[in-house]
Assembly symmetry: C2
């Protein structure tokens, strides 16, 4: 049992620092720092010596110290409501790809659809001195002061998908209205005339826009919207099932449903099948998000794809632009991605009976 050099609180093993390298080589820390960071004013020979020793002693830079010193790290913070399903993992995938290309690491936090957690996540990230924050809002976020701190600290802030309603912000969104329009129009083209809409919480931009796109399509076909056919919920599978039962109880039958989310349209499908109502012959279905399971159900579900990876990449690009010009005055920037409708059996007339 050898006693440690100094009184260490925990058995912290000898993490080798720049000072160690300097002592070993008999040069100053400045030289070490320069060699390691590839500074221009450094002798090629010295540099090699330093790099070699660093490798030999397994030197690991302490980014923490560097971040403290510079007030900036190479960390990018991401806050999403949750990571189940396909959408957010895919967006994160896009973010990691683009970030890594630019030399940033990504740390992901979930708000679990809770503002309070979202607030804590933002603070955690700020205290970790992240170089930027990318956020998709929690469902119940109606108040946005926790983001003021981010801007006050001069940390670039980019929202994606679920963005604040009124604030002047930088954001990347899907053209949800267009996506909903395409899906609904597609149902109408297939011959549907009484198309219902399963809508999501209307304080969220995405669901508001999807509802609007639905209305646009009806208008394009000169159909007067029927309030009874629009049911707003949290868009779970159960919500979708319940809403569908409600719709089926209406005196005048429906012949199509466009849901603002795939879980809800799945619930609808399950209820219709349980009641032996044929899809798409009697009721055609279209959802939103192009979740993985849309290709598994029978019939497969028509859905709007959200360009997840592109969204993540665009968010990072936006961040990089902002980071490149820290003192530039604020100008609102918004990237709008175009959705793509994936037509599958649930809406295609003439689809084979299961």
């Amino acid at each position: 049992m050898s006693s440690p050099k100094k009184t260490m609180p925990s058995a912290a093993p000898p993490a080798v620092s720049m000072a160690d390298l300097a002592r070993e080589l008999g040069v100053s820390m400045t030289t070490i720092s320069r060699a390691l960071s590839n500074h221009h004013s450094i002798g090629a020979a010295t540099k090699q010596r330093v790099l070699k020793l660093a490798k030999k002693l397994n030197y690991q830079p302490n980014h923490l110290a560097a971040a403290l010193r510079k007030g900036q790290s190479r960390l990018l913070g991401v806050v999403v409501p949750y990571i189940e399903g396909k959408f957010f993992p895919s967006v994160i995938q896009g973010i990691e790809q683009a970030a890594s290309k630019a030399g940033f690491s990504v740390i992901v936090c979930q708000s679990h659809e809770d503002v309070q957690l979202e607030r804590r996540n933002v603070e955690t990230l700020l205290n970790a001195q992240v170089a930027g924050v990318l956020v998709s809002l929690a469902r119940n976020t109606q108040e946005f002061h926790h983001f003021d701190k981010v801007r006050q600290r001069g940390v670039p802030l980019v929202f994606f998908d679920r963005i604040p309603p009124t604030e002047q912000v930088n954001s990347v969104v899907l053209n949800d209205r267009e996506g909903a329009f395409q899906a609904t129009r597609h149902l109408l083209e297939q011959g549907c005339r009484r198309v219902a809409h399963l809508a999501g919480p209307q304080h969220l931009n995405i669901y508001r826009h999807r509802r609007q796109g639905y209305l646009d399509a009806l208008a394009a076909y000169s159909i007067v919207p029927d309030e009874d056919l629009i049911i707003t919920s949290d868009m779970t599978t159960e919500d979708g099932a319940g809403a569908t039962r409600q719709l089926l109880a209406l005196p005048e039958p429906i012949d199509g449903i466009f849901a603002a989310g795939d879980s809800a349209i799945l619930g609808a499908l399950q209820v219709l099948k349980a009641q032996s109502i044929r899809v798409p012959q009697e009721v055609a279905l279209a959802g939103f998000s192009n979740e993985g399971f849309t290709a598994i159900t029978e019939p497969q579900l028509t859905s709007v794809d959200q360009r997840c990876e592109e969204m993540g990449q665009a968010a990072v690009r936006l961040f990089l632009e902002l980071a490149a010009a820290p003192d530039a005055p604020f100008v609102q920037r918004q990237v709008v991605l175009q959705p793509e409708l994936f037509v599958r059996e649930s809406s295609r007339q003439g689809a084979p009976l299961s």
Copy 2:
């Protein structure tokens, strides 16, 4: 336009520090520090004054500095192969829950099934001075030196689900062998006598154990394993489909398939249905992971549940134990969770025809 106090490289806004509080109140930084960290030797009155001013000036502690000083942060690093599907998000959910209860924040990295990225992730986490590292291995990780560094630095290291084969490590795993045994035995109980196995990469503990559990069950029924019935692949849906076609081409027909993953069993189901082979009457199916889609397919898929949340919580508990006794000599610890078989239509004889 007011000029900044000092020459700042970027427009870093005035982050209020402990020094500011000290100056404002005319006390020392020590006092501030103590008041903020609830140290025992501090006057109640002074403490209140400090806390009040801190709130007023919106003081935000710089955890970075604290971590640098203490060599320890309240951050917990997690490395997983990917976050699609149900398993890893659920485990992460369990981790976040348990960690947050203990006052830790969680940062998640994906290795994307790539050792090199895994290595980089580990370094990123170490350099962020995380208090602990929780890892589930990438598929192609066969070499483990990057984890030595973690231990060398005295940072608690816990593996979960996918763990190194030989190393002396702390880990949380499912009893995969038992789960596979239950699933296969269940198929045999339903009357199957030629049960095939879709196996995963055998250098991963989980797939090796699942294969063994399959063999155990056969042995329990005195069935001699047939190598032709065991097909090893990467377990994607396509792999499962291909393997199933291969199995159907055998001279002697099979009557059951146990797959070590749900994607593969999904592929099997799709091929069987395409060939109008009835499930479960002609071929019964069972998978592993209890993915969300197992309850969506027709018939619904029997699968082994992995206790995801519990796994995450157990991993954190293990970490906390290790962190509580930093100088304790290494003793290998392993938590083994019991799986649960979810029996659904794909294996239940007497299930209604679709």
